[in-house]
Amino acid sequence: MKIKNLKLTFWGAVFWIIVVLGIYSTILRFTKGLGAATNLSDKFPWGLWIGFDVLCGVGLAAGGFVIAAAVYIFNLEEYKSILPSAILTAFLGYLLVIVALIYDLGKPWNIWHPIIMWNPESVMFEVAWCVMLYTTVLALEFSPMLFQKLRLEKPQKIIKSLTIPLVVAGVILSTLHQSSLGSLYLIVPEKLHPIWYSSNLPYLFFLSAVAVGPAMVTIESYLSSRAFRREIEIHILSRLAKVTAVALMVYFVLKVEDIVNYKLFPYIFSLRYESLMFWLEFAVGVIVPIALLTNSKIRKSKKGLFVAQLITVLGFILNRLNVSITGLESYTQAGYFPKWTEISVTLFIVALGFAAFRLIAKHLPVFPPEVEERKTITEGFEVISMREVFKEQI
């Protein structure tokens, strides 16, 4: 018991340190400008906040549309129990991306301009619209949880009747902007290193998002099963892992095709920084996860699945950072490493996300009601085996 308490205070302390530093960096950013708070420059106009907070943030939130599509479009009922938490993760993810943009944009008060000032030719314009619309869709998909808590029957019914159109819109919007984040780089063929530049960029970005969405759902289920002491839906998660594996296999084929088509052999087999980073990304993000996730033993073990999916996520992050930072270094002949205040803002935003998730998951019906009902009320937290829940139905 003592160890548990110590652990809690340790993470609590980390959280508060991040918050304090984050507030300092926030003040610096908004009183002294981007120049003082970041290592960005005319040579490196996009840094950690775009590379991690936006590119990774949007990708990692892909679980929302993948699971929603599985449940409602493909009618795979068994995923229904993890849908609410996937939706919540996605919704928070997008809100945090918008928060990150407020830090990163030079004139954040103009963030709404794409609504009335149009440039349909611009990929960024499309991303802006998709993110706006999809965040709205997620808010609506999330709202039943709130209505349920407040016992508002009518709005709950209205949203329910809109479910299918909402999910279809969500899937289309997600496909569009997940891939468009890759399209952003199509316009810099002479700047982005050949290892990463490819006309397949939009497809690669989309596929890796589809792969990493379920991975994030798995990680989030694993962590919350520990935090909220509930049984993990291992049979569902291990089937989800197949989605990740298949998406990564298609990714693998596309990337190999790129290597052949763009004649990348001399680049990837040279002993340069870029090629090392590429192999790291490719091994961690594609090869190792495929190897692990196609192994049914690993898929069936909680820890194994968690570790495998964690590796998928790390590889994904490496890939996005490579495209947005590593891949541009040789062209600009300048290095970029984020200033500590940039890192602290990023940690701050992530920490806020964790805190918000915890808070909402505690108060709203995010986790399957069957489990909740069976809790012994006197004990507060009680582990209820999913098997027990499913016994009845079998």
């Binding site: 003082a36 005319d42 479009i73 103009n110 301009h113 960024m124 899937v171 569009l176 316009i187 002479e190």
Partner: protein, 256 residues
Amino acid sequence: MKYGILIDITKCIGCYACEEACAERWNNPVTETHELSAIQNTAVEDHDGTYVPRLCMHCEKPTCASVCPVGAFQKTKLGPVIYDPSKCLGCRYCIQACPFDIPKYQWDKLNPKVTKCDMCYERIKKGEIPACVEACPAEARIFGTKEELIEEAKRRIDENPETYYPHIFGLKEAGGTSILYLSDRPLNKLGFKVKLPEVPLSHFTEQIMSKIPNYIFWGGTLLFGIWWITKRRDEVQRLQKKLKEMEENNKKENEE
């Protein structure tokens, strides 16, 4: 009428008069760095004694205008590519995307703008010539309509084939630009990029952007279709199950 500037590198003497004129025109301080920056919209770079004036190329199909989500950049009818800070949200995609690395950012300001040469648009509208061109004592920069400038450049190359490298930079690069360069050697030896395509760079995103409306339509139809089929399949399966159960019940009853 589309105007432009012809820059003849062989004539530039590196007196920096253009830099000073430009700084005055923008109310910027005069610097010693001779590098494009947020306070310097033209710069005369020194490449081992060869002076290379740099400024925005005023592309015919500007990448900056193509990528800007709010259309803050605009190619005007007169030729200059101008920027409207009141639209800009500061995403800096223009800086990332410009193939000539021209736009700079006011990183230290709280209300930052993107900065670059605007070919002295206000002066051109009034029928005057750009400040830097007016200031140049060596006629290394001349102003005129693009046709005139191309004629003039061709004439110079024809008349002095031993002085000039026979290429007018800006005719085709990145889809063509309003600023043209003449030089005694290929410009990629003077700090310009080697790998510039001859099509405007927006070409690379157009291909994928033009697919979007189609995708929305077909994607939507397909998704609704799949939903309908899987839902129907589920219903049918459920009904079949029920039928079977009923049959079996009937059988049992009959047997009894």
